[in-house]
Each structure stands twice: as C-alpha cells, then as structure tokens.
C-alpha cells in the first residue's frame, strides 16, 4: 500500500483508532497491520522480511551469549517457509520458491547451530557474519542479480556465448534496501554493544516491518526503535495534533510540489531517452523541476511516515534538515536522507577509514605511508560509490554517488572551498549555497537519467554544447513557478530552523495562513501518483 493512494488515510485512521482502543495486544495488531500494508504489493515477499527478522533475532541472541534452544531455532528459522506454505493456500507460490526457501532456511539453521557451538569471540564473529550475510544475500540476490546477469551476458556475447538462462528476471521487492540496512545495523549494534539483543522475536519482526517506515525508511536504529515497541505509551491528544501537522506537510510536498513538478521532469527525461534535443532553457527548467520533485517526494514521504508513526505514539528519526540550504556537498549529505548517510558513515566509512588508518600507522618503519587526507579522500569516494549503488543497480546511480564523493573530496582539498562554506558573511553564505545547489542539481541529472548517455546529453545540452534544441514554452515555466513558489516560501519561512515542521514555531497568524494555503493548494492538485521515487530502492 502506498501513502499516496486514496485508501491509505482511511487505513491509517482505522489502525490508529483501534490501536488506542486496544487494552492489550497492540504489538500483534501493528504486526497484522504491517502485513496488510506490505501485502498490498506482494504478500509473498513478506517471507523475506520474516527471514531477515528471524536471522537477526537468532544471531543477536547468539552474539549476546544466549543462543535459543534448538527447537526455537527450528521454529523461528523455518518461519519464512511456513509463511510461503500458508500463503500458497490463497495465492500462487511456485514450488521452486518453496523448495529454495526450505533449503535456505535449513542451511541457516544448520549454520546457526554450528556457529552457536563456537566459543567466545569466534562465535560472536561467526554469527555477525551469518546475519550480515543473510541480509546482504537477500539484498544482492533480489536487487543486483538482474544487473550482474545482464553484465555477464554482455561479457559473454562477444565471444559467441549467449545463454538465455543467465538472465534471471527477478522481481524487486519494495523497500528491500531500507529493511536490510536496518537489520544489518541492529546486528552490528548488538555486536558492538551499542544495544541489547531483543528477547521477543515478534518485537524484532515489528521493528523491521513497522508499516510507516517499512518501504522507504527512515532507516531506524534498534536502540531508538525497540524500546518504543513495548507500546506502553498512553493516548495523548498531542500525538494526533502533531501527527496531522506532519501529514499535512508531507502530503503538501508530495501531491502539490512533487507530483506537479513531475509533469515537467518526467516528460523531459522520457523525451531525452527517446533521443530528442532540448535547448538550455528546457534543460534548466527540467533540472529545477526534478530537484523540486525528488525533494517533495522523499521529504514528503518522510513526513507522512513520521506523522503516521506519531499517531501510534512512535517517534521516527528526522531524515532531512533543509538540505537545499546546505553550503557544501558534505553538509548536504549531513542534511539529506540522514538515516542513510549516518548508516553509511557508521557502518562503512568509519570502519573502513579506521582500518586503513590503523594499518597505515602500523607500518614497519613506524611512519605513516600515506597522509590522513588521502585516506579520508579514498574512503569518501568508496563510501559514496557504495551509497550510489545502494540506490540502484545501474551505472548512473554509481556515477551519482561517485560525483558526490568527488565533490566532497574537492571541498577537502581545494584551498578556499572550506572557507567559503564556513564564512559568516552574506556574500559567502549566498555564494556557497548557490554553488552547492547547482552541483546538487547536476547530480540529480545523473540520478534521474535512464542511462549514462542520457545524462551526458542532458549535461551537454545544459552547457549549450548540443546546438539549438526545442525551446522551453513560457507555459511550462509558469507551471513550474506556480508550484515552486509556495515551496520556496515554505523553505524561506523556516530557513533558520531545523526543518519544515518547525513552521509550528512561527506566529499563529502565519501558521493559520500557511495551513489554509496548504490545504487549498493540496486540494487543487490531482490525486497524486501512486508511487514514491524511493519505493523502488
């Protein structure tokens, strides 16, 4: 189920009403709601979520020196197959899937049992690798296998081999990148002692499946999430007020800003893919439109997720802090998709840079072989390439990550860049914001284009290198302005705050006018596109 469907508000109202009326069994109820929510896409893929939760639960218990008894291991470890068998009574499930799931679950139980018998640090490490392997295995198989197989076929074809079986044609489960990262973070945090292993399997399952953040984050940390899933809070009318405030902001950004700007950007990038040429004006309009679209779409989604969760008394992480006002590419990533950037920082960048740095310092001569700046730069590039790959299995996503990595390194090494981004004066502030905004817009071209050659053509057209193309009609610019101006005004009003939701700190008159306009503009828009951009990740 998407937040942008007409029935989601009804679903949310029904779930939150029943939730607060229930004297007990709230965890089971939210789990049921989450299964219904995810089942709207494909109920069979719930088995992957169960598999991730089972692996996380068992391995974290083992890491914490309390592996469950074998009967419990088998009962929980075989749950994904049990799910497929139950679902198979109502919906077609291929025998191959059931057989594969049974084999995988059995292999996991076997490995877990073997690993549990190891002693001390060996057991902890083995179970950490097992849990991370399960999650990465699910992610790599479902998200990247198609890409790898297409690449393999492209390599084999020049030497006259083109086996059809190489192309796997695997369906991508919605939100897989988000819940696998959340799972990995939980296991890694238990391993590092940053949080305790949860004793209740259903709570671990609920943490992974909690419907407001299931398909596009935020990527929550167990230390913040698990304690809340005891659902011990009592009803507070302020949950409803703040939840509605966040929901209104979210739907305004999604339906009014993103969906209306998408009319321009979708047309442009589809035509580019078909080989059409556009003039500089058109390219700039489309780049602006897509920047507004992806911002409204993802920030809007996050507000709806947070609003939905707070209606149930659950607090989700703030995922954005006005990233379009950033003064450097590094700051942009500290303010954009914060739950992903901090995940990558904590679980990729820091371990990688510490590991290289330690090896560097422990060289036989005693002198560091490479300076720290080179290590940080290398790690930044690698991390951002992985962040790009996280978004999707395609070269243009990797280029998007790589471009951001290079920008961050440039800000580290180019003299003056850091000064420009940190000076307090009006001119440096404006200049650094404009420069960062333009570079971010360029990066979105890499992100949105269907192929690298499309991206190259768009950027060449932006530089006027493709000769005269179709000029942008004034109506398109007017359409864009009508939908961007309220958005820009909203950002301007909260520019000194953390995020758009801090509109609540403005005067009551401004708040009343803002609510009035947001409801009116939201109502003036068509029903919205059913999907969010980040659902595909």
């Amino acid at each position: 189920m998407s937040f942008a469907t007409w029935y989601y508000p009804f679903f949310l109202v029904a779930i939150s009403t029943v939730f607060w009326l229930l004297p007990r069994g709230r965890l089971a109820f939210i789990l049921l709601a989450s299964f219904v929510f995810y089942g709207f896409w494909d109920v069979r893929f719930c088995s992957l979520l169960i598999a991730a939760a089972a692996s996380d639960y068992l391995c974290t218990r083992g890491i914490e020196d309390a592996p469950p008894p074998l009967a419990k291991v088998l009962a929980i470890g075989m749950l994904p197959t049990a799910w497929l068998l139950v679902i198979g009574q109502f919906k077609e499930v291929a025998g191959l899937y059931v057989a594969t799931s049974t084999l995988a679950c059995a292999a996991f139980c076997l490995l877990f049992t073997a690993g549990s018998r190891l002693k001390g640090e060996n057991r902890r490490r083995f179970l950490l690798y097992l849990a991370v392997g399960v999650n990465l295995g699910i992610l790599v198989f479902f998200k990247y296998a198609n890409w790898f197989s297409a690449g393999l076929l492209a390599l084999l074809q020049p030497i006259g081999i083109s086996p059809d079986w190489v192309l796997l044609d695997i369906l991508l489960p919605v939100g897989i990148s988000f819940h696998t990262f959340q799972s990995i973070a939980y296991v890694a945090d238990v391993f590092a002692g940053r949080c305790k292993a949860e004793r209740d399997f259903w709570r671990v399952l609920c943490m992974i499946m909690f419907f407001p953040q299931l398909v596009a984050g935020p990527i929550e940390r167990a230390a913040g999430m698990l304690p809340q899933l005891s659902f011990e809070k009592r009803f507070d009318w302020r949950f409803v007020v703040w939840g509605l405030h966040l929901l209104l902001l979210g739907y305004f950004l999604k339906v009014f800003v993103a969906d209306n700007c998408a009319v321009i950007s979708d047309y442009f990038f589809e035509r580019i893919h078909l080989g059409e040429s556009f003039g500089v004006g058109w390219v700039l309009a489309a780049m602006g439109a897509y920047t507004a679209q992806i911002y409204g779409d993802f920030v809007g989604y996050s507000y709806i997720a947070r609003g939905s969760a707070i209606l149930l008394g659950i607090e989700l992480t703030r995922n954005f802090e006005l990233p379009l006002l950033s003064r450097s590419p590094g700051e942009f990533w500290r303010r954009w998709h914060i739950s992903l950037s901090t995940w990558i920082r904590d679980y990729v960048f820091l371990p990688l840079s510490l590991s290289i740095s330690n090896r560097n310092r422990s060289s036989p001569s005693g002198e560091p072989a490479v300076n720290d700046l080179a290590i940080v730069s290398f790690c930044l590039i690698v991390t951002m390439l992985l962040a790009g790959l996280w978004h999707g299995a395609d070269w243009h996503f990797i280029a998007f990550g790589g471009f951001h990595g290079v920008l961050q390194v440039l800000w580290l090494v180019v003299p003056g860049a850091k000064v420009l981004s940190s000076s307090a004066g009006f001119l440096p502030r404006i200049t650094s914001r404009m420069l960062t905004f333009v570079l971010v817009c360029v990066a979105w071209v890499l992100f949105r284009s269907d192929t690298m050659s499309d991206a190259a053509r768009v950027l060449a057209s932006a530089a006027g290198a493709n000769g005269p193309g179709a000029e942008v009609p004034s109506g398109v610019v007017s359409w864009l302005a009508v939908h961007a101006v309220p958005f820009v005004l909203l950002i301007a009003m909260v520019r000194h705050e953390k995020e758009e939701a801090d509109l609540a700190r403005r005067s009551k008159a401004i708040l009343a006018i803002s609510y009035f306009l947001m409801i009116m503009l939201l109502a003036s828009s068509e029903g919205g596109r059913a999907q969010f951009i980040y659902f595909q990740f």
């Binding site: 949950f239 703040w242 966040l246 009319v263 979708d266 109506g475 009551k508």
Partner: protein, 338 residues
C-alpha cells in the same frame, strides 16, 4: 525529534481551527453564492441545464459544464416573424468562432440571398456524440425552435461514452472525488485544471503526464474509430432524439457528417448517410443531408477540409448553402439560395 515537539501541539490547534473554519466559510459562500453548482461544472456535458441561463427576457448561452458553446444571447420569447433555428453538433459544426461556423454562415446566407429572417443558435460542442446531443435537444425544446439541424457522426460516440464513465465516477461515492464535489475547493481545483493545466502546458507534455484509467478502460471496450461498434449505439440514441423532436412538432434536418481520406482523396462516411436516410428520410418533417454526397462530387474536396474531419471556411459555406436551400424550401415553400 517528534516527541520533543509535542509541546507545540497546543499552539498549532488554534491556527489549524482558524484555517479550517475559513475554508468552511468559503464552502458555504460558494454553495450559496454561485448560480451553478460545482456538480454541474463537472457534469462532463451530462447536465441538461448547464450553459443556459435565463437573464430577464434573454437567454444567455455560455461555456460551462464541459459544454464549450460559443457565448450567445437571444431574446427568450421568439420575436414575431423571426425563425429560430438551432444547430446541434460537435467540433466540426462548432467552427473556429461563432461567425466562422456553419451556423454563422447559414445565418448570413438566410438573411441575405435566402430572404429568411432567422436567428441561428450554434449549440455545438467538441466531442459531443448522440447522448449529449440528445440532452441539448431536450433542453432547447423549451425555447420553441422552428427547426433543429442535427449534425450526426460516429467518431464522437467514443468521447460520449468516456465522458459518461467519467460523469458516473465523479458522481459516485468514491473518495477520490470528494474534493471535486466541494463547492469551493472543487471550483479551485477545476479552475486550476482549466486555466493552468490545459492552457499553460503544451499538448505533448499533458499527454505524457496523463494516467487516464478511463481512457484505458474505453480502449479495452472498443477502438475510437470502430464504426461497426459505435454506429448501432448512435442510431439507437438518434431514434429517441428524432422521436422527441418530432413529438414536439419541430422539423428536423439531419446533416450526416463525412470524413476526408487524404490517402486517396475520397470523402467517406462508412455508409452512415445511407443508414440514416433509410431510417428517417421517409418520415414527414425530417430531411437528411449527406455531407459525403455534397462533397464527393466536387473537385475541390481537399480544400473543403482543414483536416480529416473539420471543414475549412469554404467547406462550411458549401454546407451552409445546402442547408440554406433546405431551410428556404421549408420556410418559403421553395426557392434556391445558391
């Protein structure tokens, strides 16, 4: 974090209530203040009364409720000695303007060569097929016409059916349309669609953005140009229209539309003129004029069509002359305007 922000909740309740009350006041104001309800505006042509308003002793015709009529104004009571002729059709009959249309050309011709004092109402709207034309007929009989010229074609039947589906969905319980049905916010939304979306965005941009489930549903039912599917439906509706017009004692002239096939230079109508003539030509008070017969004999047929369906000014004049002859015959008992 959100739990820290709960303290803001009390201070946002007041402004939120003010905003909602302001919107509620506007809804009441729009409900009582507008002559036409938003449901009529969203009638997709299926409102009998949309576009017609009686203002004192005049009838005002405006563009409204998906009826893209040209703005016109006539005395409500027919002036003595003046004939009242109404042309009901689709975009071809509507023309490029009130003057540059079949109705405009006919009015000029009648007041000139034909010596018939007449007012000619142009009641044609793009995409109108037999169902919506029948609603127009039903309405205009209130104004006592002396002749109805009914422009009959088949390709607009598709639009009629699609807009009927849209109309029924809009008037259904479905929450998707709750906002559309509100007097104020519904108007704001409709204005945005009509004034911004349709007028600002180029056609190809709009086409790329449309996810029209009704169009897809219609495509599953039949091809727009499938005359074998649409002709029987159109004739069944036309039967009812003819009965209603003749039941009111009003003469009827059916102008059967034809198309220009640029690949071979032929004027065609897939046998529609013959089918309509066989059905109604023998009935008293009904005259059938075939656009195909009228244009086929002319060597300049290609100059009479602006595209495959719409007439040029020259084409309209040819049609108007043929209609003028029939009108002259009807009102003057003979004579030729040509």
């Amino acid at each position: 974090m959100d739990l820290d922000r709960l303290d803001y909740a009390p201070r946002i309740v007041g402004p939120a209530i003010i905003a909602v009350v302001a919107l509620a006041i506007l809804e009441f104001w729009a409900y009582f203040g507008f002559h036409e309800s938003s449901a009529e505006r969203n009638a997709f042509g299926y409102s009998r009364d949309a576009s017609f308003s009686v203002e004192g002793s005049f009838v005002a015709i405006t563009m409204s409720g998906s009826r893209s009529f040209w703005t016109q104004r006539y005395p409500r009571a027919k002036p003595p000695g003046l004939k009242r002729i109404m042309v009901i059709g689709d975009s071809a009959a509507r023309g490029a303007s009130l003057e540059d249309s079949v109705a405009g050309a006919l009015r000029r011709l009648l007041s000139g060569r034909c010596a018939v004092r007449a007012e000619v109402w142009n009641l044609s709207s793009p995409g109108y097929g037999s169902r919506r034309k029948q609603l127009v007929v039903d309405k205009v009989l209130e104004f006592h016409p002396d002749l109805i010229i009914y422009h009959a074609g088949v390709t607009t039947e598709y639009e009629d059916s699609r807009e009927w589906e849209r109309y029924t969905e809009y008037h259904s319980w479905h929450p998707r349309h709750w906002v559309d049905q509100l007097p104020f916010l519904g108007r704001v939304k409709l204005s945005k669609v009509e004034r911004l979306y349709w007028q600002w965005l180029p056609e190809d941009v709009r086409a790329a953005s449309l996810e029209d489930p009704l169009a897809m549903k219609m495509a599953g039912i039949a091809n727009k140009m499938d005359s074998r599917y649409w002709t029987p439906k159109m004739l069944a509706n036309l039967d009812r229209t003819v009965e209603e017009i003749r039941g009111a004692g009003v003469p009827l002239l059916i102008l059967v539309h034809a198309y220009f096939d640029r690949s071979n230079g032929r004027v065609i109508d897939a046998g529609l003129d013959k089918a309509i003539a066989a059905r109604y030509a023998s009935r008293p008070g009904v005259v059938v004029v075939s656009n195909r017969e009228l244009f086929s004999s002319r060597p300049d047929a290609s100059a009479l069509f602006a595209d495959t369906s719409h007439w040029t000014s020259a084409g309209m004049n040819v049609v108007a002359r043929e209609l003028g002859n029939s009108v002259s015959h009807l009102f003057n008992g003979g004579g030729n305007c040509s």
